[in-house]
Symmetry: C2
Subunit: 358 residues, 2 copies
């Protein structure tokens, strides 16, 4: 079994160069990258895992007198909140650099697992590429507990209902536009690469989001910092709403952070702020298609381009890849679930190999 | 790589017979089982996965006008609720029988993953033993979305706060007694096998529980039925609060259910009810230690013994294993996380091999 040796990876099924030189963004560096793919045997064959499991990072104990309105469960006592769930897999002969995958709004770590139409997820792809891979549920999401005591306080009449936590669910109709499947539900952009026929598999992934009821700073950020220190050398790979978290984590401390990959970040650091924390590591900002025609996303792209320019002027190594500029069209906001998700993973895997010393 | 062949399993590190003949429970059959363990190489070595991923079962679309109290997210629209998250791993040369693992109260599928002190979870053990293994989050728990629209209805003043969903969190102190770590927090029963020093790793797993706000029947049950039919041949392995679910699933349909393993069920079917659905498959009911001294658990054990007797009188194949009666002492309610969790998994793995035709 030599699935993960360099020799195995050298058996590439495709090798392309991505060279960008869009004059309108001359301030961002051209992406000079030799893209290598996994061999069919590695991609489609079995995977050998050296070690796997799950654990939590962080959390704090709180006392509450509104734990329950049921006689069978005590009203008062101690619970743990703000911890962050982490599931990991490490291949045999793993590389030294880990990858931490951080999902976005209204979703959980499921984002990175197998796609709505049943293809391999990036969580598995990057293990096959040799990287120990850590998939988290943000604090207060999925398997990371929310603090629901305020609900019972309102139910018991101890707090006014207006004080209830802010919790929202994104509808299919609004997610449709936010995820750039089309201009409005149920219209589909021409060339769309999200597997629209399997959309139900995405709706099933969506969860209510307690983001705006979380403490400040969001505990996910210090928890990512703890995790990075524990891993010693990791790439923080974010998506969408979590896009700013790796940057905020790097501001807390660079320790353990070897690089940042921001997949479709909803925000980059302010271009006119202190950028010193972001000049110490390679950074990749990746966006799909239909950006300029989206009133929600066009300004975000513009702001991330401004950040890229300023960070590089300050000595940074930031690259912004807008996929259509590399001739890759049709990607939605859910790039890791799009029909060409493995092609994009090849680009990111190659970027890591060529930008970050293992 | 022949990790999962019969030859590999034959390299056992221990082989004991469990023979029970407690005259006080003569109505339950003596457990005649040859217990085989995984070899050290298989247990501690890497694992080769043929296929892994995750998906959802079930769910329904609802319209709501209280999705959000934030301007950025639409108040009205469609969301999907009641679906059930499933993560799976299948080894190479997998057996034909799958195992579905169903967590209990206030917990998620994390229950079955690596233990609070970092040892291998049963999710991985049973894959190493050759079984395709499916770990679920119950509908409305963990990565399976809750329907939080009633919270916003109360927050907006559209519903009275008394109508808020019933949601409870089990405190460390109450869980301590329920999980039989000791008679009361923080006393520890003599010989306790739960890794008490790592208790924080259990508190981090606990989540708020919406069980009593779920529709009737709990969607987890029809979802388990759908999953069983899809898998064609599976064992439903429950824990604690979910103990009754495999039985309720079998009542809906036997299709796809090859057997039931109830780990520390909080309830068995009523002994005086119609037991015909439970006579068609081997059933194992497993309990740990300190049962008779627990006011909560002693009556549950008694009721499950009565069920066992009546089901067997009706032609069933139900076995009830109280571990101390097999000379295994010190197990808490969280058997899959206790220090001897692999020893107990060996018993269950052997039981499956000897009772259920592959």
């Amino acid at each position: 079994m030599k699935l993960f040796t360099t020799a195995g990876l050298a058996g590439v099924s495709a090798s392309i160069f991505l060279l960008l030189s869009n004059s309108s963004i001359a301030q961002t560096r051209p992406l000079n990258l030799k893209v290598t793919s996994l061999s069919d045997k590695v991609l489609n064959g079995p995977i050998t895992i050296e070690k796997q499991g799950s654990f939590f990072v962080g959390g704090r104990d709180i006392e509450s007198s509104t734990l329950s309105t049921l006689p069978a469960y005590a009203q008062s006592g101690t619970i743990t909140v703000d911890q962050m769930y982490v599931r990991y897999q490490a291949p045999v002969k793993a590389k030294n650099t880990a990858i931490v995958m951080i999902h976005g709004c209204c979703l959980t770590g499921k984002t990175w697992e197998s796609t709505p139409d049943g293809r391999m997820g990036w969580d598995e792809y990057f293990v096959k590429r040799g990287y120990p891979t850590y998939v988290i549920d943000q604090s207060g999401r999925g398997r990371s507990a929310v603090n629901a005591t305020a609900m019972n306080a309102a139910k018991m009449g101890k707090e006014a209902p207006e004080k209830l936590p802010v919790v929202f669910a994104a509808s299919h109709e609004s997610a449709w536009t936010i995820f750039r499947f089309g201009s409005e539900y149920p219209k589909v952009y021409e060339g769309q690469k999200f597997p629209i026929a399997a959309q139900n598999g995405l709706w099933q992934q969506m969860v209510s989001d307690w983001l705006f009821s979380m403490p400040t700073p969001n505990p996910t950020v210090p928890n990512l910092s703890l995790l990075s220190k524990q891993l010693k050398k990791t790439i923080l790979m974010s998506h969408s709403q979590s896009g700013i978290y790796p940057f905020q984590t790097a501001q807390l401390s660079n320790e353990g952070i070897a690089g940042i990959i921001a997949v479709e970040p909803s925000a980059c650091p302010a271009a006119d702020g202190d950028l010193s924390a972001y000049t110490k590591m390679p950074i990749m900002i990746l966006y799909g298609d239909y950006m300029e025609i989206s009133p929600r996303w066009a300004p975000r792209l513009k702001a991330c381009r401004a950040f890229t320019e300023k960070a590089n002027q300050a000595g940074g190594k930031v690259e912004l890849l807008l996929l259509p500029e590399a001739g890759i069209n049709g990607n939605s906001h859910m790039i890791m679930q799009d029909s060409n998700s493995i092609q994009i993973a090849d680009i990111l895997g190659s970027w890591i190999e060529q930008r970050i010393k293992n």
